[in-house]
């Protein structure tokens, strides 16, 4: 590949690396323990000791934001990971088997559309009590039909390609064809979808935590930080800025990355470039 990467991939990758780096780092180091209360030092302005200042309890903002990044990314990775792998396997199965297997899988995934992720998570939170693991379960569950659809649609196209017919003519089993031909060729749309769902997962986690249905105190979360900041909006508007910026950075990063990946994986666009 001699073509240079499009700008959106580069910017997206940098933003994602920033957030992911902070998340990983927070597991081993933050400037202060994120929950360390120092009431004497509340609402501190940004300084050399507290880079972004402190909140109403004197907690270091940078430490909280980093730890929250860890939480947010963990939720996204685990939830989208589960949804993506289960969904893609179901999609591959539906495309390979066709007939009633496909019909059942697709009808069930239709059902997923009745529950937007937020609503589903709210329902689970109401029934089982709010917690971060409920958020993960809800997002994972809602992602399964999404990935089942995306991978089935892509896989069905691959199944109509002549090289798949050639493999069938050669006597390959449908499992071997799914493994050798279909999966590698649908990887691109699935990965693109995964980056988008990452962004959605981060937004949903933030919204639920904001509503008090996600991360519970003292677990740090951008959404919960914003909820706390809202009550202090007249007093300390700066507290409402930074967590929001973090969410935007993370979501924008994944969004740009997904967009760019879609651009370079779209064979039509690729052909236009080479022509």
């Amino acid at each position: 590949m001699t073509a240079r990467l499009p700008a959106n991939i580069l910017i997206g990758a940098v933003l994602v690396a920033l957030v992911a780096g902070a998340a990983v780092l927070s597991a081993v180091w933050t400037p202060y323990p994120y929950a360390a209360i120092d009431v004497a030092n509340k609402f501190a302005a940004p300084s050399a000791t507290h880079w972004l200042g402190t909140d109403q309890l004197g907690r270091d903002l940078v430490s909280q934001l980093m730890a929250a990044a860890g939480n947010s990314m963990t939720v996204a990775v685990v939830a989208v990971g589960i949804g993506c792998s289960v969904g893609t396997v179901l999609g591959l199965l539906a495309a390979a088997r066709g007939g009633w297997v496909e019909e059942i899988i697709m009808r069930l995934s239709d059902l997923g559309f009745a529950f937007p992720a937020l609503l589903f998570a709210i329902m689970l939170a109401a029934a089982f009590g709010p917690s971060l693991s409920m958020v993960v379960i809800a997002i994972a569950f809602i992602n399964i039909p999404t990935f089942a659809r995306v991978s089935r649609a892509a896989a069905n196209q691959i199944w109509r390609r002549e090289y798949v017919f050639a493999a069938r003519a050669a006597g390959m089993s449908s499992f071997a064809i799914s493994r050798d031909h279909v999966l590698p060729n649908i990887a691109a749309p699935v990965i693109v979808q995964a980056t988008i769902e990452f962004a959605v997962a981060i937004l949903v986690e933030a919204a639920l935590s904001y509503l008090g249905l996600g991360a519970q105190p003292p677990a740090p979360s951008w959404g919960r930080m914003l909820a706390e900041a809202q009550t202090l909006m007249y007093l300390a508007p700066q507290l409402a800025i930074w967590p929001g910026m973090c969410i935007v950075t993370a979501v924008l990063g994944f969004g740009l990355l997904g967009d760019g990946l879609r651009d370079i994986s779209d064979p039509r666009l690729a052909r236009q470039r080479s022509a």
Binding site: A127, L211, V248, L252
Partner: protein
Amino acid sequence: MSYFLARRIAGFLLTLFVVSIVVFAVMNVLPGDPALTILGLDSTEEARAALRGRLGLDEPVVQRYLAWIGGALHGDLGQSYSFDVPVSGLIAERLPLTLSLAVSGMALTIGLALTMGLTAAARHGRAGDWAIMLLSQLGIAVPAFWLSMLLVLLFAVKLRWLPPGGFPGWGDPVAAARSLVLPTVALALVQSAVLARVTRSAALEVMRQDFVRTARATGFAPRHVLWRHVLPNALVPIVTIVGLQFAGLVTGTIVIENVFYLPGLGRLLFQSIANRDLITVQALVMLFAAIVVTANFLVDIAYVVIDPRLRAQRA
């Protein structure tokens, strides 16, 4: 009645039925003792037993489901535990606010998105396209509740043009409308960013097709080609997303109503969860899901109106 329509309606009703089972199952079967959830861990066994009796929890699950769904079909959604009034009354009181929020949000979304998406597509690859796409990418990344907070900071706290939250009731239409401006904008800006991108890529997809080349070869101006030939053909994917977005807007109101302290269904749902009022929560979740399913059903019908090919295939 046409075969297609009959099948769609059957599918719609079936989906609603299955959704109601899922909602009922999650709220009643899985978590163990709803009385415990409602009353909390520090409740006495007698109080829980009394509540179970009142809620009919001693009866078999299937019977309870049938009672619930049967009541719902007659407009009886049960008695709210925390407000101690019929749930249907609570909903009827708050539905107009949520619906007007969702509908005005949708209208604003569609207007903004079509303008931005088509403009970007018409300027494909040029500066205008880039600017609009960057803006929309940013718009998608902004959480609606944070945008709401920023809007409140700017327009309510700093400029004092609009109220920061609360709802004065429908008695004063102007005040009511004013209090809905910021929530509507917060809802619509984010959603229109998504829809603008869909509109643009759908339009670009259509612009690659041969009949657009035919129209150009016939000597029509780009504007005419865009409105007459590109947009109608791009509508199918756009309408699909509009359906999904209406769902997003309706659930979005849950968050937004809480930011702005608006007494709608979302706020009611949130309060009911806080009060562990499972009866109300169950009714509201079912209602939200039903709205979403209905929106998707209407989208299916819209396809057929848009595209004569589907009309022929499915008529």
